[in-house]
């Protein structure tokens, strides 16, 4: 009798556990199926043809998402340029240098930073960072890719710190002891032994940070200016894939080509982050097994 009950419970739990798989597949399926009308009308190649994103043009609407992709990666890469060194340095300090007491005090800083809602960060970028950038570089407006990069960097920082710290802490103690026993200083050990051993884990952490940066919406929406022109420098206003959806989805007529195109933009964004995350995940898991 209890066998039946036990099995029922087990399968109920299993069905629940599989929900995450179903949701992920569901996102993939719904985004793709909602994009299909756009793909039929616009054609896949036209999304990636040189040109602009201008679906509401009166005469010839254009659907090229190249500039959006470029903007997305500019902000993503820009944020990593400062978030990765800073994040890895913090992680190294937390994992290798700080004592247990110090760590108890320092870790909440990272956690609080992670807790700040992205819309608050975007607001901060808009009203505080932008004027500073404008002043520093003599620009009319500081609302540009640089501003977005800085704020998205702050956004991605906690992810990078905590995962990099995991990776560094996972390096076996015996490596460190072997190095120290040979008369190396603690710093030499960190630089020559611990960090190289943790390298692939740190790379994975950075990639996951990249994934967060690429998918970030509210911060870039508020801090980058969202211009559709082709960006040529970090002082230009850019629009990312995510911001593009946020701006236009609310006003577009349901069922129009434009509407379905936005789902395609979402699909592209989903695939980019999915691939980045999956790669990072594979690297991280492999690293874990090696160590």
């Amino acid at each position: 009798m209890h066998n039946f009950k036990e099995n029922a419970i087990k399968y109920f739990f299993m069905a629940n556990g599989m929900l995450s798989i179903i949701i992920l597949l569901g996102i993939f399926y719904l985004l793709l199926s909602r994009s299909l009308p756009a793909l039929q009308n616009v054609g896949l190649t036209n999304f990636f043809a040189p040109g602009y994103w201008n679906p509401t043009a009166y005469t010839t609407p254009q659907y090229s998402i190249l500039n959006l992709i470029k903007g997305t990666f500019m902000v993503g890469a820009g944020s990593l340029i400062f978030a990765v060194p800073l994040g890895v340095a913090c992680a190294t300090y937390l994992a290798e240098v700080a004592g247990a007491r110090e760590r108890e005090v320092l870790k909440p800083i990272i956690e609080i930073l992670a807790g700040i809602p992205s819309v608050v960060l975007g607001f901060f970028g808009l009203v505080v960072v932008a004027p500073v950038i404008a002043e520093l570089f003599g620009l009319n407006s500081g609302i540009n890719a640089l501003n977005g990069s800085i704020l998205v960097g702050i956004m991605a920082l906690p992810t990078i710190v905590s995962l990099a710290e995991d990776a560094i802490s996972a390096v076996p103690q015996s490596y460190r002891h072997a190095s120290l026993a040979l008369g190396a200083t603690k710093w030499q050990t960190i630089l020559r032994i611990t960090l190289p051993a943790a390298l692939s884990g740190i790379i994975a952490a950075s990639m996951l940070g990249m994934g967060r940066a690429v998918g970030e919406t509210m911060t870039v929406l508020m801090a980058t200016g969202n211009a559709l022109a082709k960006p040529s420098s970090f002082f230009d206003s850019v629009r990312t894939l995510s911001a593009n959806i946020a701006i236009e989805m609310g006003e577009v007529p349901v069922g129009s080509v434009h509407y379905h195109s936005l789902f395609f933009v979402g699909f592209v964004l989903f695939m980019i982050t999915f691939i980045i995350n999956l790669l990072a995940d594979v690297i991280f898991q492999r690293y874990r097994e090696e160590i």
């Binding site: 087990k10 609080i112 809602p117």
Partner: protein
């Protein structure tokens, strides 16, 4: 030490150099944390300084007036409360059951790995993509229209990975000997889980729930098209109502309002309230976890 031979002396100067390098390097590392700390402080300081003056009883309890240039944020607070509540009702049971399945039932094997990979990837899905998913599934296919329910369920799915991770951590902290002891007495798996594993894991799970809550309360992108409203003169009266929400309200005051500089103080006030809300949630989670860890150590 007088009897050092020249060789050892040489090593000694080298050692001084090496020690100096180490001190400098550690200083740089520490500096990086100070930089992060300063960034955090600047953000908190700016928002607190300019936001706290706006806070008053009326600001917290009144609806926006005269085109949102005056009045308070009461409907946004209520809306955020409701939508977070619905998100919790979705995420908590699903998250805890998933965690139990992963940690107690399917300990190994392909399905377990697949679920874990899915969860990690779900955590990386951009929030705006969740918004699109919510539009396609809840708003349209299920016919909820833009509403508290659609937005809450979207947020619930978004926070699922956070809840699962925290719940699993709590389950992992329960000693293996409880499980073995129960099974050896002839308890079935579910009897064992229910009576021996879950009770000590509850405080830890609560931590996860609160962390998920704070994540849900601060999210904007997923609710943009699933139910959040620009302005509503009334409070939501059913799960199918649209609603105002703090983060979306801040976004509007900051970028979409016709008098952006005029409503800046209101925006700061909203940002401050949102920060305080999220931090209070996080703080209670941290305190709970701290107490709980101490308790576990006593066992």
């Amino acid at each position: 030490m007088k009897i050092l031979n020249p060789d050892l002396k040489k090593t000694n100067t080298e050692q001084v150099h090496r020690n100096w390098t180490q001190t400098a390097a550690f200083l740089c590392l520490r500096l990086s944390l100070i930089v992060v700390f300063l960034i955090l402080m600047v953000i908190l300081y700016d928002i607190t300084k300019k936001g706290i003056g706006v806070i008053s009883w009326l600001f917290l309890t009144e609806a926006p007036r005269t085109g949102m240039t005056e009045g308070g944020i009461f409907p946004a607070i209520v809306g955020t409360f409701y939508v977070t509540l619905i998100a919790t009702l979705v995420a908590v049971p699903l998250g805890i059951i998933t965690a139990i399945y992963l940690n107690e039932y399917a300990l190994q094997g392909r399905l377990n790995r697949l679920i874990r990979i899915s969860l990690r990837n779900m955590a990386g899905v951009p929030s705006i993509v969740f918004g699109l998913f919510g539009v396609a599934l809840f708003v349209q296919r299920m016919g909820f229209r833009p509403s508290l329910l659609a937005a809450g369920m979207t947020l619930g799915l978004l926070t699922l990975p956070v809840t699962v991770t925290a719940a699993e951590e709590a389950l992992k902290a329960v000693p293996k000997s409880y499980r073995e002891g129960g099974l050896a007495l002839g308890a079935t798996k579910w009897q064992m889980v229910k009576s021996l594993v879950l009770p000590p894991a509850v405080p830890g799970m609560l931590t996860g729930v609160i962390l998920g809550l704070s994540r849900a309360a601060g999210e904007t992108a997923p609710i943009l098209f699933t139910g959040a409203a620009f302005f509503l003169p009334y409070l939501p009266d059913s799960p199918f109502s649209q609603f105002m929400a703090l983060p979306y309200h801040l976004f509007i005051l900051a970028t979409q309002h016709h008098d952006i500089s005029g409503v800046r103080p209101l925006a700061y006030g909203t940002a401050f309230v949102l920060l305080v809300l999220v931090f209070m949630l996080n703080l209670s989670a941290v305190l709970l976890r701290y107490r709980y860890r101490k308790q576990i150590k006593q066992f």
